[in-house]
């Protein structure tokens, strides 16, 4: 049995097909990312799986339960974190977590104990007695994501958990989610941030309501983008150097930057020493040279022709 099974799912709003014949499955204990730009249908898809948005056609099962005919059973096995701020501004951090823990069925004493433990985990122990409206947006989001760790739901569904947060908090949150995997849970999250999707064990690219591609991050990168970007800074740029560098670029294209060049290579570790040699031969000197590996965002761009913006 799969943790989540989506078959031929369609969701329409009037004439708009927000989700258009989508099928995919998520294995138990898998870390699955739905990646796509705003408006691609990923949040709609997450809300349908979370039983709060009726589907138009197709079927969705969570832990074997159908989201339409067995919605109440589905609610027992999921913990859904929507994209918006759902914490209550006039409750403290601890009270907010306790409230959601009690709705999940925890007793008051267990909810209190769990709230304290999880607030400590997400670094909000000191602010636990402060009202949520005094929190920064990052603190509120951490508080809301912390509610995903309450209870014992085997499937976590997080809609854009890191949107609007700075990179260090984003990485911390992704770290928490990876920690949860060790408890055997299955995680499905949506994102438009390639770096976050890199942490997933499987990624589905969503575009205009459809799944455009699916695979592990490495598979997607290998399939859709092979080259790395090589950046170099030099003491002097010159025409003959530009011509020489074209021999090392996969598409014979070299972009001039303010203080150097940028080119694409599928074997950067091999071409970098050759580039340094070529620069020396022209009389210029390399001040700095480095390469970056292709990212999921690059793969998404190559595959769909659209940015994640």
């Amino acid at each position: 049995m799969k943790a989540i099974e989506v078959n031929g799912l369609v969701k329409t709003y009037g004439n708009i097909r927000a989700v258009d014949n989508v099928s995919f499955s998520v294995e138990k204990n898998e870390f699955f990312a739905l990646m796509g730009p705003n408006g691609s249908g990923k949040s709609t898809l997450a809300s349908i799986i979370a039983t709060v948005n009726p589907l138009t056609e197709g079927s969705v099962k969570v832990m074997g339960f159908d989201v339409v005919s067995e919605a109440e059973k589905v609610r027992e096995v999921i913990n859904y974190i929507p994209a918006f701020n759902f914490s209550s501004p006039y409750l403290t951090g601890e009270e907010n977590l306790m409230f959601y823990a009690q709705l999940l069925g925890l007793s008051r004493s267990k909810a209190k104990e769990a709230s304290r433990r999880i607030l400590s985990k997400v670094g909000l122990s000191e602010a636990s007695k402060k009202l949520a409206f005094t929190y920064s947006s990052g603190m509120r989001r951490r508080l809301e994501i912390a509610s995903a760790f309450m209870g014992e739901a085997p499937v976590l569904i997080l809609d854009e958990p890191t949107t609007g947060l700075d990179p260090s908090i984003r990485r911390t949150i992704m770290g928490w989610l990876i920690e949860e995997l060790s408890k055997g849970v299955t995680i499905l999250f949506t994102t438009h941030i390639g770096e976050d999707a890199e942490a997933a064990s499987k990624v589905a690219f969503m575009m205009k309501g459809k799944i455009a591609a699916e695979g592990t991050p490495q598979e997607l990168k290998d399939k859709y983008v092979k080259e790395s970007t090589v950046y170099l800074k030099v003491t002097a740029k010159m025409a003959k150097l530009t011509e020489a560098l074209k021999n090392f670029s996969i598409d014979n294209k070299v972009l001039e930057t303010e203080d150097g060049y940028r080119l694409y290579s599928d074997k950067p570790e091999k071409v970098i020493p050759l580039i340094v040699e070529a620069v020396d031969k022209t009389g210029s000197k390399v001040l700095e040279i480095d390469s970056t590996k292709p990212t999921l965002e690059d793969a998404f761009f190559k595959m769909t022709g659209a940015s994640l913006g």
Partner: protein, 259 residues
């Protein structure tokens, strides 16, 4: 069985008690009117009538506090949760619509009781006196609950239909102040034009206040006899009808999208 309703009740009550705007409209505003009414508007009243007059103002202002709680605060609470998408979060959890509704109603009931006691204390401080025995008080509590149910019903309908918290509160408080004014809560029933006297008799919250005034202070302060059989039946049925309508609207507007 009621654990989730209790969690919702605690949350609702804490949100009310910590919100300054809610505290102002539900407690400070009626208390200010009560003080003004007792000091300024009772000038010229014969000395022997003053305690009863102040008592009737106190009852009316408790009524106003109950109306504000139901129509304004509950509407705002529902509007805020709707605006923020909290209903979507709650609907994805193993919570039933009735558990949510019961928790919110218990919250508003407790907060209204809290506000009423504070306004009553202000009334006693100002020298208010009330008539009636234990049975009368029990009867009055029944009418107060009916009034709260009808006010909460109207508030739930506002909260369910309006899109934002601000709009829900403004409409709720606005309708409270307007209907309280035209149904004789800030002036004697006898001073109202005939059409508004009819409105006062038919509008469930003011009908309930008139009944309480009649029971505790006498017909002079109620302005008419609201305890006739027809009127009593009407007050009960209309209040319950509004409340049942509110539950239907609430379920359809805020919980129907759930699968």
């Amino acid at each position: 069985m009621f654990a989730r309703s209790i969690a919702m009740f605690v949350r609702t009550f804490k949100e009310f008690i910590r919100n300054r705007a809610v505290l102002f409209w539900t407690i400070a505003w009626p208390a200010i009117w009560l003080v003004l009414g007792s000091v300024v508007f009772t000038r010229g009243t014969p000395e022997e009538w003053l305690p009863q007059m102040k008592g009737s103002i106190t009852i009316t202002m408790i009524g106003f506090a109950l109306m504000t709680s139901g129509m304004g605060n509950l509407a705002g609470c529902i509007g805020r949760d709707k605006e923020r998408g909290i209903y979507q979060k709650i609907a994805s959890m193993p919570v039933k619509a009735w558990e949510d509704a019961l928790g919110r109603l218990m919250g508003i009931l407790t907060f209204a009781l809290f506000g009423s006691v504070l306004v009553l204390i202000v009334g006693f401080v100002m020298g208010a006196k009330f008539g009636g025995g234990v049975i009368d008080v029990v009867q009055c509590i029944g009418y107060a609950i009916l009034m709260l149910l009808s006010s909460a019903g109207i508030g739930v309908i506002f909260g369910s239909l309006v899109k934002s918290e601000g709009a829900a509160i403004n409409i709720g408080v606005g309708v409270t102040v307007l209907t309280a004014s035209i149904s004789g809560m800030f002036m004697p029933y006898s001073g109202l034009p005939e059409v508004l006297q009819r409105f006062s008799e038919l509008y469930p919250p003011s009908a309930a206040i008139s009944s309480i005034l009649y029971i505790l202070q006498g017909e002079f302060f109620a302005g008419y006899n609201p305890l006739t059989l027809e009127h009593t039946v009407y007050a009960i049925i209309s209040s319950l009808a509004i409340f049942i309508l509110c539950l239907i609207v609430y379920k359809q507007k805020l919980w129907a999208y759930r699968l």
